[in-house]
Symmetry: C2
Subunit: 145 residues, 2 copies
DNA sequence: TATTTAACTTGCAAAATGCAAGTGAAATGT
DNA sequence: ACATTTCACTTGCATTTTGCAAGTTAAATA
């Protein structure tokens, strides 16, 4: 049984595309979850939990559900371990790569931040970096990373 | 008296640049405020208030203050009307244009959204669009738009 | 001088978030 | 086979953030 997106936003504050983005992603955790899937290959609840100490268990569960309901990620049970749910970025989720990239480059340019390696990689050749992400996450392959 | 940015985040959840971005912009209103300054030339509290019914007066005040404290916008009194405060994007704020652009294009590609005119413009030539924003907001000019 | 306007505060209710503890099904260890 | 551990969550409750309505203050306008 694969979890499927059932996206039923009742009313949107405005028709502007940016508003839609903000309503889906404008919170403290969603983009970080997506980043860790995209860049670090996280796939299970536990991986997220162990990683950022800071996110509350109920909030993580809630965010994962919401991302599924928006069609940004999808979850299916691990065939080799019935307890585990494997989350994966959908096409829609992978398409957030340029958004994440610009946010990373902006912060790196204006704030004192770490992970300079990633930043250099992105800055050196944005398109190449994006192509890499898309390749590693191409939907043909069952397991990215 | 020009309000100046005094940016003193006490502790950051992680050094990742994305985390920095999310901490500054990851809420329901900040990016919309920036969009309206960038694209619609909004400059005063009242303009924001009148526009989106939906934002609470105290939240708007709080967000404007925070954006100032992050150095994304700055506010100075209108010389011709002592009641008014004119807010303006800083360089750091203008540099958010690529982030907004990617968020708009992402939502437009995956959601049912309005403002197709803007979307077409952005899609047709992203760099040209960005150049236009930067030009209109170049710091030489006192009043953008 | 009286009223209006702009930009906020303040007080309080409602919603979202965070934290600790608990649950239930599946795997693992003995 | 049975007890323990692991995984992916809930639940309950305190704290924080948001939203709404009603002030407030200084400056402009009638």
């Amino acid at each position: 049984m694969t979890l499927v997106a059932k996206h039923n936003k009742l009313s949107r504050r405005s028709g502007c595309p940016l508003n839609a983005s903000v309503e889906m992603l404008g919170d403290r955790w969603s983009l970080l979850i997506i980043r860790d899937m995209m860049l670090r290959g996280f796939r299970t609840y536990k991986e997220f939990m162990d990683c950022y100490e800071g996110i509350a268990t109920n909030i993580l569960a809630d965010r994962l559900q919401k991302l599924v309901s928006y069609g940004i990620i999808e979850g299916e049970p691990d065939p080799s371990d019935g307890r585990k749910l494997i989350y994966r970025l959908t096409k829609k989720g992978i398409d957030l790569a340029p958004v994440l990239t610009e946010m990373v480059l902006w912060a790196a340019a204006h704030e004192d931040t770490g992970n300079q390696e990633l930043v250099r990689l992105m800055r050196a050749d944005k398109e190449k970096f994006l192509a890499g992400v898309r390749m590693r996450w191409s939907n043909d392959r069952p397991k990215p990373s």
